[in-house]
Subunit: 94 residues, 10 copies
């Protein structure tokens, strides 16, 4: 089942540069893992903002919770979750 | 270039049923046309709401404006537009 | 899978009383049907407001959309949907 | 009497890990105690957020205040409280 | 138990004057009835607005719902409800 | 003249316990003083929140400002002020 | 005592022109009356909006309520009221 | 002096087509007049919305008010006004 | 030309008392200077809040920016600016 | 393609003065560079606020992202982005 997930990142400007670089590297590796597993089919940058719009494709709300809760950046994020379903105007339906 | 577009529809409850059915049929046909042209690669229902989240892939802001302005439901919609760019964590980049 | 759904109802004060009574009767019957099917395990009035807080237990986002879209009061409602998952502090887990 | 209570948790990302682990352990134990007493019949995770939706069943507003004020996480929480009453569409009434 | 209730009234400016006068007269009589019963101990005008701040003292959430739902102005009101409890700084406690 | 005053308190979770206890003791004593003087006829806890709803009865806006500005918790408070007047439905008027 | 009062006017675009002209003429005459009485010392247009910022100087909250409630445009207005007091930086104090 | 002005247009969907066409034609002619006079140096469509972002260059707040108040679409607009001044990073200053 | 300016002050509660006293003294002296120059004709305390409502009378947006930017409290302020013009109901016009 | 970009700056009041001066100098130099390249045709101060309204003219969303992300003040900014297109009332079109 599909969810639109918006993640805004709020890192303190004075974060230690090494810690910050490591954090972002772990975030990227973590995201890659779930993208390769087919659970995170889309990730886009919201241009001009430290934020992304993602589409997640999970088997349950528990799996959604598990993926998001373990994001390395989770403690710095404000997250919004919207359940999606197939739209009647989708050409895949005709 | 990609845009996330959220469209919320506010139809008056007492709209003439025939007019309403025609309006929705024209909306679907119009959306199909742009989906087939590759300009509207994704459309999802926000579950439980008369609203959708769409991804548009256009050549210019004028084309974006042209597609949205001519939606049959445009006069009944509240629309939000967010420019998207490739995310550095996208596996397509690695 | 569980969703918290908040439904606020905005009926025009000058709605025809017969139409209004019929609408509310159909809403109640429709809700009863899904409650009996086990898909709508909880419905509470938000005290002092024409609104309810409901818990829905559905098999998919499409089923959620189907149940809410067909509510007789849907055209008069403002709806918010929140996906729920099991909480680690739930005693059912210990 | 029933209340819907939404609790959002805002822990500083640089909280001492031991303090944090102890805080969460005490929060769970405290919640278990009230769940066992029948005062806290439901607790759900809002998927993807450090937040829960709970239903409390208390004898008075003072008891509600007492339970929430003494939550170990209270100083880190933003709390919303909504009084609930029986809904006329509840099948328990028919 | 005590509730703070804020009631904002939104009457259409072109409401029939006779209907409006009757509505306000019935609202006043209804409020008087509950004030005399001791259930509505305070009602204040928010100066400069068609709105009041009231304190209700009820036995249950169902009674609160019953009183507010049957207000003659209810269909024209936006209502907010806040549960109150005794404050530790109240001199009645010392 | 009457004012409804809502005071939300935001104390840092890591405030020194002794300082905090002293602050709250001074706040209570200060509030008692004005309650005894008849200037602060009501104070209620908003259940489940570190906040109160108070009614102040002052002679001037300068007196209102003086009472609130000197609250020991003032630097930690977010305050909203609403002027109240007698409501035409108040039974004291009939 | 002084109040800052913001009045936003929302007239239906299809209001009868004669009714509208009469309404605005009565509003102006009514405002003139209170300005001459010294109760309405300032009225400014918020540039580019159908709205004003006014300063009222009244003897009580009841007088404030009386002046605003009887504005010919009151049924079309959204009003905000802020109590003002002398500022310690006012040179009138030095 | 410069102002950023955002104008959102809310036309009723059932407006008479002839009236609507005339209204938009008069709006365009009116805007052209002020653009030619050098008072309205920029007007951009906010893509995907019935709204524009304009820059106005006027001699006084009264002139700003006069230009906006007489817009044919004014009764259907929600307008926000922001005063602008030269930015210290503007290369025109170096 | 006139502007309504609202200034809310957010000083950290643990600011050094000497620094705070000096800051407020410099703010008062700075405000006095502009009041004497006729550029700051009104300043009122918003009762019960660390905030003021001011009227500024300046020659240009650059002068407005210069006055506000150099306020000693500017780094601690949240400021809103509203351009004002003469109101057609102002008796000074009749 | 054009974007309106609003940048609000939130610098901690206790930032080291030398660091702050260097940061602002780098911001100005960076902005100059893009203005000279024709990518940043307009930058205006929002009078009375530590904020600007800018117009950017970029070739892609990636370029927009690149310019904004590398602003020296980016970690201290809240940014809003609005895509612009040619307005049908623009005299350049007639």
């Amino acid at each position: 089942m599909l969810f639109a997930v918006t993640m805004e990142v709020h890192l303190p400007p004075d974060l230690d540069p090494g810690f910050r670089a490591d954090l972002l590297a772990r975030e990227k590796a973590y995201s890659h893992e779930w993208q390769r597993a087919g659970k995170w089919p889309h990730i886009w940058r919201r241009s001009g903002q430290f934020a992304n719009l993602s589409i997640l494709d999970v088997d349950s709300h528990e799996e959604l919770q598990d993926i998001l809760w373990n994001l390395p950046l989770f403690p710095y994020m404000q997250i919004e979750v919207t359940p999606l379903s197939q739209h009647p105007s989708d050409i895949a339906l005709s």
